[in-house]
Amino acid sequence: MPSRMTLAQCQKAPLPPGTGASSGTLRGKHVEAVALLGLSRATRFGEAVHFFLYDAPKVLLLLVGVVFVMGVVQTFFAPARTRALLAGRRLGVGNALAALLGIVTPFCSCSAVPLFIGFLSAGVPLGVTFSFLISAPMVNEVALALLLGLFGWKVAALYLGLGLLVAIVAGLVIGRLRMERHLEDWVRAIHLGEAAAPHGTVRTWAERFEAGVRHLREIVGRVWPYVLAGIGLGAGIHGYVPEDFLASFMGANVWWAVPAAVLLGVPMYTNAAGIIPVVEALIGKGAALGTTLAFMMSVIALSAPEILILRKVLRWPLIATFVGVVAFGVLVVGYVFNAVL
């Protein structure tokens, strides 16, 4: 593979303005790699191939590293432990803790309902439970690894901070509104026996690393086609969409761009893996970072399938509040980003 090289071998090549936040340390060699294939970066196809060869190996390697580490970290935070940490917490501290634990506790949206009820029945307040449920899918390791690889650590850190903030504030609002009465009756009626905890055994480091490898296989095994497809689509946008084409309707000066991005994101359902490479390409073409981040958060945090799953335990007023509050938070994030950067 022509794209494999050490960082030291690479030269820094100047970037045209507006190429996005990923800086050009690897670009020099890629000009050669693309040239070897008989393609010129002056052609659109050559530019797209260049973009793909530059991003794909870097992003996949980062993904492997981050997902493995997260797999190991998650062995310290079984959901039952997280629940015990959150039980009886007051709003405020509880929300912050829940949002943070949402990053490191293993979570899959198909377990959302048992987890939701399990938390409530153990005395975790509704608002705190929501902070967890919002943070867990939105601030996930795949999103962070991709942002890190494609945009650099500053944007990844901003996404992390703002994602947590949205989760905390949204949970606080839902908690303050006292919406417990909008839970489905069977949920309120449920009386749980003491939860079974079959994983009571002491874990060794070898077991934790094994868990990391399993996590790696499972997650990367599932998302790599999306990552490559996303980078491919992004490469296409990079090569074929004219520079500044998007500035006219996704730029920072277009006031309705952020709400439009959020609305567009709700019915869309993809994972972070597919959307982030596309987002990077959009930004290279003049879309504002706040608008695109709002779009991304909306796509990841609010999805139609998840809403349908939650409908089994929540009545419409609570679902509408959940969607409304999160959408509003994402909106604010979008505007703040556009204003500050």
């Binding site: 629940r83 899959c108 377990s111 009820i117 939860a195 079974a196």
Partner: protein, 78 residues
């Protein structure tokens, strides 16, 4: 006869878990009454936080993932 329930509301991992157990039982020639539990109230009633979960004879023995072959054989041998 041993009764094994796979707890999970129809996700892919739950499906795989069911198949893994069925296959293991067939190989070990152990007769089991294997059931898929998809009713959320019943799943939640077992007190599990992550699906898929597995209960043998009404007792939860596993949650949150596809069980390994060793683990499944141990349930069948008991």
């Amino acid at each position: 006869m041993k009764r094994i329930e796979v707890l999970g509301a129809g996700c892919r991992k739950c499906e795989t878990t069911f198949n893994v157990i069925r296959e293991a039982a067939r190989q070990a020639a152990v007769e089991v009454q294997l059931e898929k539990v998809t009713d959320l109230a019943r799943i939640v009633g077992y007190g599990i936080l992550q699906t898929p979960g597995v209960a043998t004879d009404g007792k939860v023995v596993h949650t949150g993932g596809i069980p390994g072959p060793e683990t499944v054989r141990a349930w069948l041998a008991k």
